[in-house]
Amino acid sequence: MATAPDVLARMRGITKVYSRGGQEVRVLDGLDLDVGAGELLALMGPSGSGKSTILNLLGGLDRPDAGTIEVGDTEITKLSSDALAGWRARHVGFVFQAFNLIPVLTALENVELPLLLTPLGKKQRREHAEYALQLVGLTDRMDHRPKQLSGGQEQRVAIARAIATDPTMVLADEPTGDLDRASADAVLDILSRLVAEHGKTVAMVTHDPAAARRATRTLHLEKGVLVEQGTTGPA
């Protein structure tokens, strides 16, 4: 079992089976995993090993076929679809490889989007969004639409959107996968700062060894099973 000192998330006996081309594929098979509070966890492994599935399960985007997932005091596997959506809005920020910004909204509006689910007023929402963009160094691009931004800038907007609601966890799926080295380093700097300076917990799926080196802990998966774990360095 992969454990962490101050556990934020516990996955126990997780099994996830997908049906592909009429055949059942067991992506995760009885996985146990703990994610520590305030760590930058890197999940590595070949394609199809179950890395992204773990992230999706942790973030409540998907449900396991067997097993339980607890995040803080909440067993999210027991939540209804609507309750899970509400929990996700309060506790999880997602960063995707393909950025996934809404193309018709400006950078500021994209960042403000998850804040619509909070009780904040219009002015406060704007202030929060501007602050998040300031953290990723994009205040000068806040009125630009995604098409008007570079890939690295888009990913920084996506990170700003992920942290705008001050979530418990940030889950990043290949955040540097579509970026050049310089942009990737800038994104990794931001994720590291989130952990080191703001005490956030970040779980990141990556194929990039340079990204893994930034992690406080790295887990390797193969065919849904944790085969190796190692502590690399400080975030």
Binding site: A85, G86, R88, A98, V104, L108, L117
Partner: protein, 393 residues
């Protein structure tokens, strides 16, 4: 930033497509309201007809005249209060394009039979005193700018004077009808004046109508069964010289609609087909928008918005475009009613867009927007976030 802003921005993601859908919806509902109003206008005249008025016409055709001597015979039938001759004049004012209906009638009897056509008592007296006087609907007078006292030259296609000379009338009174069974765009003049015209024409060698009256509009006394009076009149002329066909005013009005054959039914079918076309078009457009929004729906769900939100937003988009387009079309048809009334004065002088038709059009527009967007919206709602984000990555 608000979700409505996102809906608005999405609407204008494809401005040409949105504009075309809007325009098509507006056109479809315009046509629907217009076609429905043609049918309801035809029906309204029949519905508003008096139950105590019956029309006596030739059994052969409406275009075959009956002798003037019938008047005295009809008035002898038990239950008949009065009968009034109606003769079609077939004229126009200055130019053939200014065509409108004119009838020679016994004006005193006519005004008694049609109390719903309101006439100022002073004008009524002037009208009855002037042999060349005429009574004109207020809308017709307004259209040509006629005032009481004006001389009105009318050229007739039936009673044609050598040299193209017009018959002259003096406008002595205007009427305003409160019911659609009699429109406000008709001219009535003295039956006696028509008889003089015929006499003058015969003296000049023209062949005027050999027989005299097109329709005897007959009022039934209170307490008498109109059906019994109808049967008695037709029985009276069973042996000729002209057999008659007598019917209630409603049936008489309805025969003008039936002259159009199945046109009202066809109009209904066309209106329905237009609505079906717009429905499938909206479904197709919403389907395209839904497929394009799959990724956005996944993003919204990942951010914590409920599953049904993305679908709801698409539904709102669909209802906004089709609803606003449809309402624009329906209201335009309503606003265009006076212009149509002028355009179709010859066939549908009372054309109107009723409030129920307008409201039905608006309701249908909103329903089509809702129903057309329902399936794509449901599909968006059911999308699995993980699947869609993986596919779109």
């Amino acid at each position: 930033m608000s979700l409505l802003k996102l809906v608005h921005r999405n609407l204008w993601r494809h401005p040409v497509r949105t504009s075309l859908t809007f325009a098509f919806s507006a056109l479809a509902l315009f046509l629907f309201v217009f076609l429905t109003s043609v049918v309801t206008t035809l029906a309204a005249a029949t519905k508003a007809s008096a139950t105590n008025r019956i029309a006596v016409q030739s059994a052969a055709s409406l275009y075959v005249y009956m002798p003037e001597s019938y008047r005295a015979k009809i008035e002898q039938v038990p239950g008949v209060e009065s009968t009034c001759p109606w003769v079609w004049f077939g004229g126009y004012y200055q130019d053939p394009s200014n065509f409108f209906a004119q009838f020679a009638v016994d004006l005193a009897t006519h005004l008694d039979q049609y109390p719903e056509a309101e006439v100022d008592p002073a004008q009524r007296a002037e009208l009855l005193a002037d042999r060349q006087g005429c009574l004109v609907g207020d809308e017709l007078a307004d259209k040509f700018g006629w005032k009481v006292g004006d001389k009105i030259p009318i050229l007739s296609n039936i009673y044609t004077v050598e040299g193209g000379k017009a018959w002259e009338f003096t406008l002595r009174a205007t009427y305003h009808s409160r019911k659609p069974n009699i429109d406000n765009k008709t001219m009535f003049f003295h039956w006696d004046y028509l008889k003089e015209m015929r006499k003058a024409l015969r003296a000049q060698g023209f062949e005027a109508s050999g027989q005299d009256v097109g329709v005897w509009m007959t009022k039934v006394k209170d307490g008498f069964d109109p059906d019994a009076v109808i049967a008695a009149i037709d029985a009276l002329f069973e042996a000729g010289p002209q057999r008659t066909r007598t019917q209630t005013e409603a049936a008489f009005q309805a025969q003008f609609a039936s002259m159009l054959g199945n046109v009202p039914t066809f109009l209904g079918w066309i209106g329905g087909a237009v609505l079906f076309a717009i429905f499938f078009s909206v479904m197709n457009t919403a389907g395209m928008a839904g497929r394009e929004r799959s990724r956005d729906a996944g993003i919204l769900k990942a951010l914590g918005f409920k599953d049904r939100l993305a679908g709801g937003m698409l539904l709102l988009e669909s209802m906004a475009v089709v609803g606003v387009g449809g309402v624009t079309g329906a209201v335009s048809a309503w606003l265009a009613a006076p212009a149509f009334r002028d355009q179709f004065a010859q066939f549908l002088p009372n054309y109107f867009v009723g409030t129920p038709t307008l409201l039905l059009g608006i309701a249908i527009a909103l329903f089509i927007g809702f129903a057309g967007g329902l399936y794509p919206a449901a599909r968006l709602t059911r999308l699995r976030t993980v699947t869609v984000l993986r596919q779109e990555a």
